[in-house]
């Protein structure tokens, strides 16, 4: 792939704009709250787009196109079973606690609801995960640029990290959030022409359906038998493992995304943030799943004359990760190629900036201020927040180099993240909806759930992975194994938290007001305009999601 002057110019203009956003926002940063939590001043449309953009990182864009090519239209389950229902649940039921408790972060909510040790466990695991995720994202960007443009790995790492550092250091969370909106539009508008032209080239959706095996173009029809669908999953595993445990665990408890709703101007907008965000999220498969399905259709015998190929790895397997870059290289002419490459860079950078801003808030509020240096001036915490931003990016760069040297570290880290995230939603669900849940129950339940995840992975084997204790049970796909690991860890956490809570002393009810469902006054929007009413919006969204599932059944 060769870039022309116009392509380079577009990339440079993008870099200049994101840095300019940092300089503009810098003038408004006066306190640590401005820097770390935007002082709850961001309008709804910005928080909503930033909410999905923070998740629209490299794993999402390149990973979902790769999954579309590998598993077909079933990949939409990550959106229409996973994300939407969890986002609606977050908006309707959980945001009143996060926002109403005045907590500045998810770990801080845990300290108010439970105790310091639960907060510490969540804060430390989250801080480690986000900074490593950021590094892996950086590694993936540099690796991709090295493969497709032959750019130097070191130069790519330092330029990308340097630009993210400049705008997050200058403008903190607000700067990252405004850039996420720019990055969202760039990704959507930059990749839309690709979908249109590739779909046209493949002869439209009807022709794609004729070219591919039926289980590649139906989302549900072949899910009754794990052996007859590409993911190797039964629909019950999918609904419980992905639709409930993993998606709710991520969308409802991960501070990286929840932070975008917590900076809204008021409770109503905080609740509507994930609900409004769910509308573009519902349509996102058109940009990130459909291209993968089209790519695999273009490689079928009847369409070979189109000349598109997904590169092959040394072992003869298709390199699905390269599906999107290959489509861009195949279809985009000079100029547009710059737009496509910039869109890919934007996805990496928004993911990295999202991780870094969540990391510095949790580190400053929940580790530094909570355990090391309390009751200092606001200016002190502002300086610390800025310093932590630089430290977070330097650790990300270090992680990227470690990932370069040890390929398996990516798999290992993803595995550990799964162990930690899997059981987390059970802790929040019990904490918010059962006032009898205690701090000891939450802490030990979380630890036991994580151990349960590790044990399940050690006793099952899929695609050669896992089974490090004893390979007692074989699962067809790695994805199926991830769902089962998450499901079991959730169950272990859920029941162990209940048992331990029943034998330990709960907090007095007065301390739980505003933190638990039964002791909290529910916000009412009955007299509000239709677009400000949470429940009708949520119901409309869920109906639309069900209709999409039926259309692609």
């Amino acid at each position: 792939m060769n870039l022309t002057t116009a392509d380079y110019l577009i990339i440079i203009i993008y870099f200049l704009f994101v840095i300019a956003v940092g300089f503009i926002i810098k003038k408004k940063i006066r306190s640590s709250n401005d820097f770390l939590s935007s002082s709850r001043s961001i309008p709804l449309w910005i928080t909503s787009l930033a909410f999905i953009s923070a998740n629209l990182g490299a794993q999402e864009v390149i990973g979902m196109v790769a999954s579309g090519a590998k598993y077909g239209i079933m990949t939409v389950h990550f959106y229409w079973v996973g994300a939407i229902f969890a986002m609606v649940f977050l908006g309707v039921f959980m945001m009143p606690f996060y926002y109403g408790s005045r907590a500045r972060s998810v770990p801080e909510y845990l300290s108010l609801r439970f105790d310091e040790k639960t907060r510490g466990l969540n804060a430390i695991s989250f801080a480690v995960m986000t900074v490593f995720s950021s590094g892996i994202s950086l590694y993936a960007l540099a690796k991709m640029l090295e493969i497709i443009l032959h750019w130097d790995f070191d130069v790519s790492i330092w330029i990308a990290a340097g630009i993210v550092m400049i705008y997050t250091f200058l403008g903190g969370l607000t700067s990252a959030v405004y850039n996420e909106v720019l990055q969202f539009f760039l990704i959507v508008l930059g990749l839309s022409p690709l979908v249109i032209v590739a779909l046209q080239d493949a002869g439209g959706w009807e022709n794609i359906k004729q070219q591919l095996a039926p289980n590649m173009t139906h989302a549900w029809k072949y899910m009754g038998d794990p052996d007859s669908n590409p993911m190797g999953l039964h629909f019950m595993s999918l609904i419980f493992g992905l639709g409930f445990v993993m998606s709710f665990g991520y969308w409802c408890t991960d501070f990286l995304v929840v932070q975008r709703a917590m900076i809204a101007r008021n409770m109503n907008e905080a609740q509507r943030t994930p609900i409004v965000a769910a509308v573009p999220k519902m349509l996102m498969p058109l940009i990130v799943v459909l291209p993968g399905v089209i790519a695999i259709a273009l490689m079928q015998p009847a369409l070979l004359d189109k000349g598109f190929r997904i590169p092959v790895e040394a072992d003869g397997q298709l390199n699905y990760t390269m599906t999107l870059p290959s489509l861009i290289a195949h279809y985009y002419p000079s100029g547009l190629l710059g737009v496509g490459i910039t869109a890919l860079m934007a996805s990496f950078m928004s993911g990295m900036a999202g991780n870094v801003t969540a990391f510095n808030a949790v580190f400053t509020y929940d580790i530094y201020q909570a355990y090391f240096v309390r009751k200092r001036s606001d200016k002190h915490y502002l300086v610390v927040g800025k310093f932590i931003t630089i430290a977070g990016i330097l650790i990300s760069i270090l992680t990227a180099y470690i990932a370069k040297g040890f390929n398996n570290i990516n798999d290992f880290l993803q595995l550990v993240f799964g162990f930690v995230n899997g059981p987390l939603f059970a802790t929040f669900l019990l904490g918010m909806f059962w006032k009898r849940t205690t701090g000891h129950g939450a802490f030990w339940g979380l630890l036991l759930g994580t151990l349960g995840a590790a044990a399940t992975h050690g006793l099952t084997i899929a695609e050669g992975k896992g089974g490090w204790i004893a390979p007692l049970y074989e699962i067809k796909s790695g994805m199926g194994q991830a769902f089962i690991v998450a499901g079991i860890s959730w169950i272990v956490n859920f029941f162990s938290t209940i048992v331990i809570s029943l034998v330990t002393k709960p907090k007095p009810e007065e301390e739980l007001r505003g933190l638990v469902y039964s002791l909290t006054e529910k916000p009412s929007y009955r007299s509000s305009k239709w677009y400000e009413r949470i429940v009708p919006l949520a119901v409309a969204l869920l109906l639309a999601t069900i209709i999409l599932n039926v259309i692609f059944f």
């Binding site: 022309t4 116009a6 110019l9 577009i10 203009i13 993008y14 704009f17 300019a20 956003v21 503009i24 405004y178 909106v181 720019l182 539009f185 760039l186 508008l189 022409p193 032209v197 279809y331 985009y332 002419p333 000079s334 100029g335 547009l336 737009v339």
Partner: protein, 49 residues
């Protein structure tokens, strides 16, 4: 800011399209849609929509 960004990118795409005498209509359609979106965003920003 977002509107300005897309308008500038659209101008680069237009200039590139005519400078290279390209007949690839995809570039022209994309440049037009970027320009339209950029101007709309700038208008929305001015009107504080």
């Amino acid at each position: 800011m977002i509107g300005t960004f897309f308008t500038v990118i659209a101008i680069v795409l237009f200039v590139n399209f005519f400078a290279t005498a390209s007949n690839d209509m995809l570039s022209l359609y994309t440049a037009s849609s970027f320009m339209l979106f950029g101007l709309l965003m700038m208008f929305a920003g001015k009107k504080k929509i």
